[in-house]
């Protein structure tokens, strides 16, 4: 029976991982971390969770240990943030290429420098191409629910890929808020025991992770691409099963008050909640504006997104990271890719907000709306802009 209580989101996420009965947690417990691995270490040490907690010497080692444990057929979990995720970088590709099911929670935080471990999406967005399934939660309830969902996706025989669960560092990870926590028994009805499709076994030896010569590398990459694209159907099915069981339905793309909206805001993560409050006020005043949010980021749910924004004339896209000297923020880039060449494609206003822990207040949406409205009224589409730059100007690039 699920219990509603006020709890720090990181603790709730750790408990959810514990209720998923994970076998191995390998993690590096120093900043940038969250209470997730600290709490899991307590659960193991106090005998509440029968798992191997491996306190490794670095994040690189953490991900390497996770690869070993998943290859041996153990249900594997880890969590990291910021520089820690960056240090895992090269091993992340290997986890995906070896089709190793595991779940990693990333409390999204900035990369230095200047030295900064506050919230934005620069850690995860620089790991876009590692081949993992990636989801973004908006609040603590969703983050907690997605833990068993991610394990089930990852371990589904049709999927067999590592899954990254993102939620905003500090503004979600360190927040005490009401969460309805599913019990271990409830999770057991949703998440079957892990039955790996293949695992290292001394009685039936085979090679995992050999050299991929030029004559097979392309085929291996193609196989990986097929796998992650094909994961879409199982993901949707698993979301639905979760909703049918526990009453909370999740979709790859979420829409909020987009009926008849001329301008739609597009974003990911917790700032969507602030935006909802702002949109409610706008709608009350008669302004036709709504929000579309990606929950699933890899595989990119392009068709769902196209349906969600159909009819909008302008999209205002909010990124929490950008590519210096390049084409702006990642969400905007991918939306443009998705919509390029489609009929009646909306115009796109791109902004970068909330870098390195800068709060995004409701009035920040007023500024962005004004720029989108100008484009709606015929003004030329501006290049991407860094907003919230001190001094009151928009730091036009």
């Amino acid at each position: 029976m699920s219990v509603r209580r006020g709890v720090e989101v990181s603790i709730a996420v750790a408990e959810a991982a514990g209720f998923c009965d994970v076998d191995v947690v390998a993690a590096y417990p120093i900043t940038p971390q969250t209470h997730i691995v600290e709490h899991l270490a307590s659960l193991v040490a106090d005998g509440h969770l029968d798992a191997e907690f491996v306190p490794v010497e670095s994040e690189h080692a953490a991900m390497s240990a996770c690869c070993g444990s998943a290859a041996a057929g153990a249900r594997t979990f880890t969590a990291t943030s910021s520089q820690g995720l960056a240090l895992m970088h090269e091993v992340l590709f290997i986890a995906a290429a070896l089709r190793l099911p595991m779940v990693m929670v990333v409390a999204n935080r900035a990369l230095s420098g200047p030295i900064n471990i506050w919230n934005d999406h620069s850690d995860i967005m620089t790991e876009r191409d590692v081949g993992w399934i990636a989801l973004f939660a908006e609040n603590g309830q969703e983050a907690t629910d997605l833990v068993p969902i991610c394990h089930r996706i990852s371990e589904d025989p049709r999927v067999q890929l590592p899954v990254m669960l993102n939620f905003d560092g500090f503004i979600v990870s360190h927040m005490i808020e009401p969460i309805e926590q599913l019990s271990k028994e409830e999770i057991k009805t949703f998440l079957p025991d892990f039955a790996p499709v293949q695992r290292l076994d001394i009685d039936n030896p085979f090679t995992m992770g050999p050299v991929g010569m030029p004559n097979v590398y392309t085929e291996a990459k193609m196989a990986g691409e097929h796998a992650i694209r094909a994961s879409y159907e199982p993901i949707v099915e698993i979301f639905k099963d979760f909703g049918d069981k526990f009453g909370r339905y999740y979709n790859p793309v979420e829409s909020y008050r987009t009926d008849g909206a001329d301008i739609i805001f597009v974003m990911m993560g917790a700032i969507t909640e602030t935006a909802m409050t702002w949109v409610d006020a706008q709608r009350d005043a008669g302004t036709k504006v709504g929000i579309v949010r990606f929950r699933l980021w890899r595989p990119l749910p392009a068709d769902d997104f196209k349906k969600a924004v159909a009819g909008a004339k302008v999209l205002a896209i909010l990124d929490r990271h950008f590519s210096p000297g390049g084409p702006g923020g990642p969400v905007a880039q991918e939306v443009k890719y998705t919509l390029y060449g489609t009929d009646n494609a909306p115009k796109i206003v791109e902004v970068v907000v909330g870098l390195g822990g800068r709060d995004v207040f409701p009035e920040d949406f007023d500024d962005i709306y004004k720029r989108a409205e100008a484009v709606l009224n015929g003004a030329p589409v501006p290049p991407f802009e860094l907003t919230q730059v001190r001094g009151g100007h928009y730091g036009k690039i």
């Binding site: 509603r4 209580r5 006020g6 709890v7 720090e8 506050w118 919230n119 905003d168 500090f170 503004i171 979600v172 360190h174 927040m175 005490i176 808020e177 009401p178 917790a270 909640e273 602030t274 909802m276 409050t277 822990g357 709060d359 995004v360 207040f361 409701p362």
Partner: protein, 187 residues
């Protein structure tokens, strides 16, 4: 929605008091959140924590800029931080101090909020808990100044949190409830 800001020094439990308050509101069946200002955590340095309480789900995760209530856990903070920043005309400023409200107004001017509540939380905590950890004591004054959460639920949460050292904290909270001074406005 009620928004609160807690000013203290690292180690005094400002975050814990915000947390206990939010947990009490959530236990009552309504919505709440609590969070620290995110920064390097250093014992003794000025720290800020926030809480929001509402009948509706809370969708704002930004720092509290216009608090309805400010709690100052450490008297020395008044000299270095404008803790009244953002308090509206009906806002309440709850201060741990040995001074009277009139003395505070004379010394700090508009850095004291429009409606002040004072108590010598250091003294109470020292006597009841044996340490000048004032977070739970300050909650007693908060309960007196407003009825945002039920005292019984808060005491229950305090017991869950502090276990066998809860008694001193509860005595301290109750004494603060009785002993705090609430400013009487003219007219």
């Amino acid at each position: 929605m009620l928004e609160l800001r807690f000013h203290g020094r690292g180690g005094q439990g400002a975050v814990t008091s915000a947390e206990l308050l939010a947990q009490s509101a959530i236990a009552k069946g309504i919505y709440a959140q609590a969070f620290p200002s995110f920064g390097p955590e250093r014992r003794g340095a000025p720290v800020v924590a926030f809480a929001r309480i509402s009948e509706q789900p809370i969708r704002n995760r930004t720092a509290v800029r216009h608090p309805n209530i400010v709690l100052v856990l450490d008297p020395s903070i008044l000299r270095i931080v404008n803790t009244a920043d953002g308090l509206p005309p009906d806002g309440i400023h709850i201060i741990n101090t040995t001074k009277t409200i009139a003395e505070l107004r004379e010394e700090f001017g508009d850095k004291i909020g429009p409606n002040a509540v004072t108590l010598d939380a250091n003294h109470i905590a020292q006597e009841e808990i044996g340490r000048k950890i004032t977070n739970t004591t300050m909650l007693g004054a908060l309960l007196r100044a407003t009825n945002i959460v039920d005292k019984d639920i808060l005491i229950e949460k305090l017991k869950e949190r502090f276990g066998r050292i809860a008694d001193g904290n509860i005595r301290s909270l109750n004494r603060a409830f009785e002993e705090c001074c609430i400013e009487k406005k003219e007219g």
